[in-house]
Symmetry: C2
Subunit: 193 residues, 2 copies
């Protein structure tokens, strides 16, 4: 349960993961966290090495080997520790305040952010401990979509241009084809790490 | 295989669905399509009544009973028919052109849009028939996230404020709690249908 200290970190805590049915959705949560600029994903309460290994495999190939991935961490303890260390907690829930009404406050706050994304039933604890319960619209949809939109608003769209300097392979944008190249680390865009 | 004619329609075609492992991801694709302002979701090539029924159940309760949901439609025939009827096709793929470079053209085009989202292997056919192969960044992540960001950019964030006039229940935004009310259809925001 390591939480790095440094410039502002954004970690994602995925709660309520059920290995038998959530493998793909939780993997998508992890991959969105990585691709959209978060620093790590923590899968709470259950161990799922398959999901961890899938996400780490993507980091190995596409870059961000320092992206933090772990499963089986006690969610409530982790959230409490995050707060004790001075971080804030943003819980994504359709019942919360609309993202458009709170994102500017969250973006300006320099503290580390733990973004909590749940499955269907989220314990009361997380509504209470969260500094912000944030709704990505007030309709039922998807924790994967909610996380993507939250990080996209947080980073103001810049995350879709991040270049990961330790990537082994890269994509050359193409109108029709699939062009994958060995990375020369010379791509345009913001170098992320 | 009905395609309604009228003002600009946005439909989502989900290809490569495997009922045994994609049930939740495809359900999320359908719910994102509904919540983010698309007009329907078509699950290609395989019948999955469970997923269809889950999405329809959400429409029944949260509104948009006219949202079109079907499974088992031949994907390639559907795409060809869409084009024959004058619509355009946008295929979301990490290999395509960056969304920031093409979204303005797509938004200004008045024609109906079929947004194609695939699983891991997408037949060459869809790269070729697409008017735009669009990358939501060039990193591997999630078709659910890709669809959400695409629709969010297309509707310029307005979709997160849509009010569905036939909703039975609505959420009252809350900083800590869960407030669900019977809809009085008086909410703020744009009335969507």
């Amino acid at each position: 349960m390591s939480i790095e200290v440094g410039e502002r970190k954004v970690y994602v805590l995925r709660i309520g993961h059920r290995p038998e049915r959530d493998k793909r959705v939780t993997t998508h949560v992890g991959l969105v966290a990585r691709a959209f600029g978060a620093d790590g994903v923590v899968i709470g309460d259950v161990i799922d090495e398959k999901v961890v290994s899938k996400i780490k495999g993507i980091c190995e190939k596409w870059g961000r080997k320092s992206f933090y991935v772990i499963s089986g961490v006690n969610s409530m303890k982790y959230a409490r520790k995050w707060k004790d260390r001075g971080g804030i907690i943003v819980h994504l829930t359709m019942y919360g305040l609309h993202i458009d009404d709170v994102i500017d406050y969250i973006r300006r706050d320099p503290r580390d952010i733990l973004v909590v994304v749940g499955a269907s039933k989220v314990p009361r604890f997380f509504y209470d401990i969260a500094d912000f319960n944030v709704a990505i619209g007030h309709q039922p949809h998807s924790e994967v979509a909610a996380l993507a939109i939250f990080l996209d608003r947080l980073f103001e769209g810049r995350e879709l241009h991040f270049i990961f300097s330790d990537a082994k392979i890269c994509i050359e944008p193409s109108p029709k084809g699939k062009k994958v190249t060995m990375c020369d680390r010379k791509g345009e865009g913001q170098e992320y790490q």
